[in-house]
Symmetry: none
Amino acid sequence: MTTAPESSSHTGPAIPRGQGGDALSVAAREIFAERGYHGASIRDIAKRAGLSLSALYYWHSSKQELFAGLMEDSVNDYVRTCDAALHACGDDPAERLRALVRATVDYRVRRRVESTIAARDARNLDPVHAQRLAELRESATRLFQDIIDDGARCGRFRCEHPAEARRAIQAACNAIPQWYDPEGDTDPAELADRYVTIALRIVGA
Amino acid sequence: MTTAPESSSHTGPAIPRGQGGDALSVAAREIFAERGYHGASIRDIAKRAGLSLSALYYWHSSKQELFAGLMEDSVNDYVRTCDAALHACGDDPAERLRALVRATVDYRVRRRVESTIAARDARNLDPVHAQRLAELRESATRLFQDIIDDGARCGRFRCEHPAEARRAIQAACNAIPQWYDPEGDTDPAELADRYVTIALRIVGA
Amino acid sequence: MTTAPESSSHTGPAIPRGQGGDALSVAAREIFAERGYHGASIRDIAKRAGLSLSALYYWHSSKQELFAGLMEDSVNDYVRTCDAALHACGDDPAERLRALVRATVDYRVRRRVESTIAARDARNLDPVHAQRLAELRESATRLFQDIIDDGARCGRFRCEHPAEARRAIQAACNAIPQWYDPEGDTDPAELADRYVTIALRIVGA
Amino acid sequence: MTTAPESSSHTGPAIPRGQGGDALSVAAREIFAERGYHGASIRDIAKRAGLSLSALYYWHSSKQELFAGLMEDSVNDYVRTCDAALHACGDDPAERLRALVRATVDYRVRRRVESTIAARDARNLDPVHAQRLAELRESATRLFQDIIDDGARCGRFRCEHPAEARRAIQAACNAIPQWYDPEGDTDPAELADRYVTIALRIVGA
DNA sequence: CATGAATGAGTATTCATTCAT
DNA sequence: TATGAATGAATACTCATTCAT
């Protein structure tokens, strides 16, 4: 029927006692990314982690909780990355936009896998986690929007449709995990520079 | 909707795509969009179409064929839209980019639902259909890339990283279905104008 | 661990198409009686009915619904039996008590298996069905109590503690399924006569 | 509670029944009563006792042994109660029946919870314990039957169907735990008097 | 064209139990 | 004494699919 070749045997030595939790997180990340939330079976996650199904349930109370934990970790990382970047720079809108784009590119490269999962499977979060994630997403949107609006108002940016500009910039950054190959492509710093240039052009800096 | 006879190799009776067949396509589009390929059950699709499960199997030989038909219809539409737009304009890279962006925005607005499905669930196509879809996707990429490369070479565009420019433009257009609300947002023509502006800025026209 | 020898292979010929529903009710009744609600596995019920697990779910939406259906059928039967018996007799308390005891004994003998299930597993009904069953149970209690109270008031019964009398009579009748063997024991009519005598003695008729 | 060393053959360390062991017995009694043998999980029992699952296995070698211990304790109590009552009275059948009913009512009130468990879940005992329990049950039955038969023979009771009389009396007593509320209902001594009256009427004393 | 009845493989989850410390 | 980590078999239930009519 579907594509995946279903290679289920796990690599590496048997997981040493007491370290099952980490192995599970890694395996879950991989399998959710490969097959999506509904396509991923908890059996296969346990198998790839080198543990029994029951051991998975010792560490995580449900598939949903395992999934939500992954998303939460990752999005908290993004929030921290943005905050740090913006705290370390001045008031100039161009400077601030530069910092925010760099932080975003950095995050999308570092957390390629989780970013892909979030982009495709956020709707499968239970209402409580979905709410939190939506709020954090919106707060990131506001970070971008405030900077662009500010730049447009004070004349630093020549930008007639700031909402579209913001959407274009975020969309461009968010698409990076879809194609970026950490082995073959340009290094993350150079990549960030290029996306900074694109962003500044979009807002008319 | 879906009127073409659609020869997508399957056993059983030929699929005339009338009456029941249409209701099924509509229902399938909605449910695949809401829940994703694995999250959607053909029982629910049949129910929403007001038909029995067995009736669904009269019209479509499998879940996969139903899904692939949807994707195929939609991507063929895109290809035709782009071809028409580019045939109707001259050689100037800016003019051609303008036409291609307009065609893309138009398509993403017209086919919002299928676009969302394709973005999230393309990996669930069986190898044969996945191959075709990938080729068509790549041909669209080439359309963009050729125009941008051309403009950069002849000096019409000031654009040092044409690959990144192309990715940014496509990503911005592709993200439209994620937020665009045909009721409340600006009309498609105005939207296309704005994305044309953004694209021209990105390539430094 | 536990007692049951787990004889799972089903007897008789394969179930003819279209008659699975009845076979399932019979099998469910048997297995719920043998092992209790939680001890009964839906797999074993399907197996004894000569059907697949999935066929069971075609007929019944859940274990709970299958179980509740059984109980509902049976208790409705009791209500009808009592109503008929009381409508067919006059006003004399002794005559009415005689009729009600006879109806109860008759029901406990006819519905031995369901009676046992209800006595042991009523708590496993979901709240909605549990409520209905409790109400019907209480209405039966009231039938007994009204007759006894009436007889005590008008002097036909010499009975100082009518509530205890009623409980004793009901308990005696309800215990019949625990020991009665339709093959070896006295026939139901004779049995009813004996319990009528006991009931009349308890109320001091 | 449960202080006796209780030699119920199991492997592992001897079970001194102190501290943790007691908490477990209490918790087990409650949970088995609430949910039945199969509905009760030893995880929940351990949790309610405030212990880990592994601690439960220190005190009890299996779920079955924990359950059987409860039943054994309780039924031994009944046997002792009956023996004491009958040893303390003379030869008159009415006097002996009075004593036995009083002992039974007393036990059903004192051991309400275990009585309920035994009534519903005796079938879940393993064969060895089930056998012992059945024997003790039968010996109690014989105590009742001998007295009634004796009374009938010597003319003290006017009782044509002594087996039915005995069943009715036992059923009435056994049903007490189903409705008796130690807070709100009559005190046990008064209750016993009323059941003595009922029993004497049933046998025609 | 359409349905009701059935299936076998798969789903997430819970069970009683054990092991190493 | 007690625990945290793990297991294999079972649980109720859903899946895409088929078949006889």
